[in-house]
Symmetry: C3
Subunit: 345 residues, 3 copies
């Protein structure tokens, strides 16, 4: 891309943490565009991955699972993504200047057998869900130029299904190469109920994740009533390392600023569930105007601190109509885009 260089001082002044990791001998910084394909060029195939390939590919342990299956077909793909499609911050009623579009990575959902895409790839990826007792099978196809994976939180899985790169100890699921498939099998055993997440944890972590490779995962208790309406929200930053844009965007579900971040809608009387996940290099709080909820510790709150990898669900019965804001209460994050409308009729 032919953008000018990102201004490091501006980036740090915006609260950025520049240094992220060292990959292929290069220091990767959040404020400098990184060329993932080039980084991938220097990677060696780990021994267990090479052995599995020569013996005909990694076999998923599908036979060993019991209970009903939930099958997903998901491909990692690149797509153009606009962080601020309206070009406007509706909270302050002002324009958001500069470029806001980049080539994101997405987990894109397909119909059975990858026959056709369900829709365009999105940030975050599709909701993966299961009831307790079910087995989740994710048929994963890597259409990117670099190795990526799917690593889940919370649900039960054997170590081969960890989806994490571990150097010489890497299993095939932790290094899914360009053009290859891997089938992840995870089990929603008793005790894994809750809101979780999944994300890339491959050899170029966290760059592909920073470009959009994450999504929500939920294990439900089938004996519990489902809410009438529910929202899955990721608080995360899109940073220059991943976007090649000149600034940092504070996002909810890949979009920044009210009118771009999800506009949530509910009706008075509905049971509403918010499923909130935090996943970047920073700490956030989640706050909703005009509402409050009971924390699992029993206190009534309307604001909660969350760090990278944390997830929480809260529910309430909607009783307060109007146009509300939900946002991160870190002021520079709020004003950098981490806010949206919640409209109750």
């Amino acid at each position: 891309m032919n953008l000018g260089p990102v201004d490091r001082r501006q980036f740090l002044a915006a609260g950025g943490t520049a240094f992220i990791c060292t990959l292929a001998g290069q220091r990767i910084s959040a404020d400098k565009p990184a060329d993932v394909s080039q980084l991938a060029g220097g990677l060696e195939v780990p021994p267990k991955v090479a052995a599995a390939q020569s013996s005909g590919g990694a076999q998923a342990t599908l036979a060993a699972t019991s209970g009903a299956r939930r099958e997903y077909w998901i491909a990692a793909e690149e797509r153009k993504w606009d962080i601020v499609p309206t070009g406007t911050d509706e909270m302050l009623n002002q324009q958001v200047p500069g470029r806001t579009t980049f080539k994101a990575y997405t987990y894109r959902q397909y119909q059975s057998g990858f026959s056709s895409p369900v829709n365009n790839g999105k940030v975050p990826g599709p909701l993966i869900q299961a009831d307790v007792g079910e087995t989740v099978v994710v048929h994963f196809r890597n259409k990117l130029k670099s190795p990526v994976t799917i690593h889940p939180h919370g649900i039960r899985y054997d170590v081969e299904m960890d989806g994490a790169y571990k150097g010489e100890y890497t299993d095939p699921g932790g290094f899914v190469q360009r053009g290859q498939d891997f089938t992840y099998v995870w089990e929603a055993t008793e005790g894994t109920q809750g809101l979780w997440l999944y994300h890339d944890h491959g050899p170029l972590d966290p760059v592909p994740l920073y470009k959009g490779l994450f999504g929500p995962l939920i294990v439900r208790d089938p004996d519990q009533p489902r809410p009438d309406v529910e929202f899955f929200l990721f608080m995360h930053a899109f940073e220059p390392v991943a976007t090649s844009l000149r600034r940092q965007f504070w996002c909810i579900n890949g979009r920044a600023y009210a009118g771009n971040a999800p506009t949530l809608r509910a009706k008075v009387g509905q049971r509403v569930a918010f499923h909130v996940i935090s996943l970047d290099n920073y700490f956030h709080t989640f706050h909703v105007h005009g509402h409050r909820w009971t924390d699992p510790d029993g206190t009534v709150i309307d604001n909660k601190t969350m760090g990278p990898g944390d997830s929480m669900t809260f529910e309430f019965v909607e009783d307060n109509p109007g146009r509300w804001l939900y946002h991160c209460h870190v002021f520079s994050h709020l004003h950098g885009g981490m806010t949206g409308w919640y409209i109750v009729e």
Copy 2:
């Protein structure tokens, strides 16, 4: 003001997040003084606010409320404020060099009908309290040169009483102009018990808040016994954007360093309540020496992480005499002033 420029590198080196927001087309940074009056000059009056003015002003929905009323008369005013009145850090027994006084914004409490001030304006503003079942009525007068508001957490209110600027969707309570009044009506309904806060959430957010426009709000359960002594404490930073001073101060209730931050006092045998609120761009922990408390989750702790907008109450029966420190356990915050004495007789 005729102060020299704040040194950005020093500011960032102290852990500051410089970029906060874009207001009136200007990038506002925590490390650069901002002229609030000038920023206010560029603001348009939102359509609903203009319509209410032309029809004789916004009417509070007082008629609709039931239960006993708790009425407050509060004006936003500017006043000179000294962050380190003793000039000394008593923990390290050393002087705090440099200027420590600036023009703060305060929520100043008045007697009924704004007949006379209760006292000088303070940081934080007055405690707003109600029992469950009561209605809080805040008669608010803006004596500042820029529009500000009062936005509450936790308590129940209709969307018109949100006190938040929302661009074109702003209600009159979200844009209280210079010299104007607005009456906020909030209801302490069942389920809103707890420690909350209030703060400016107007069109220049967060600059007026950074200058001191915040305060504690509590909804009490009248069936619960009151503590013998209680403390309301805000952990927050005073930063150059708000103070025009050359450095960042880490404060508790507007003051920095032991002997300036509140010196708390209790006696052995008393039931003591700490009401702690975190409200700036950073994350903190609250720690007390020689004491511990039971967290709502049942664990016994003496240190707790809090993010912007979080609030917590803990209580214990005092049993340990002496001169203790309470402080944020982030070392640079502690040593930047976020500590005070707790003296038990």
Copy 3:
């Protein structure tokens, strides 16, 4: 030391907070080596400390305690410490370039009466443990060139046993000088059960702590079953101010990167306890792959936010063999070394 200067911009770019404190009139920054001996040279002996010395030294209130005693002999000593002894990051299977060895401060455990050291000093210091009802007696000897202390969290102690420097109000236990001894007496009274920590809180805080003066403290309920295996883990940064090295290392128990940070081992069927403490200038989350636990608030989680001074214990019955990663989920911390192996057979 003859190292080149640390590059401040690199340090800040890595997420460092440079300014920590002002000691002896000097601004101490995390990114610049500090000479502790020189800083100590300017310190005055606080009046109560001087008085105790002239009257024959501080007397511990040993006579006043009841219950069984747990006695420890601990000396503060300097020792050479390698943060990355293997020189390798096993997660990414790549070398860690540059120097990784420095002169750490350690709390080193001795046999009764300081007759002989139990082992080399370590980061963190030895586990101090007691059952409810017992008294902990720590015979502390300062073999460093500067005054340091031991300040405990959570356990019950009189104010003279606080181990905290308080300027003119400092007790002898808050200023233990070079070559001197002090005996700390703390009581594991009912209600102090839990995982805690201890650390230096002397007049040069936090520099000696940053160099390694911290350790775990646990008060156990003797009626609760002990886990089959347990791990005590500190998440903390080693920074240039303390190490004179050119970069920041994100550590667990004084080591950085998988294969250097503790390699934890357990067996299927064992009851496993993780005791996790966070203690630096930053916020972290603790995450384990392939496992989850019940938070004290009743939710099942596999990732938790922790700030400086926070501690948590979680337990589970091991049921998932393999080579797992545990790590801080802040990506730049993970990739800066804050990860290790957890191997289940």
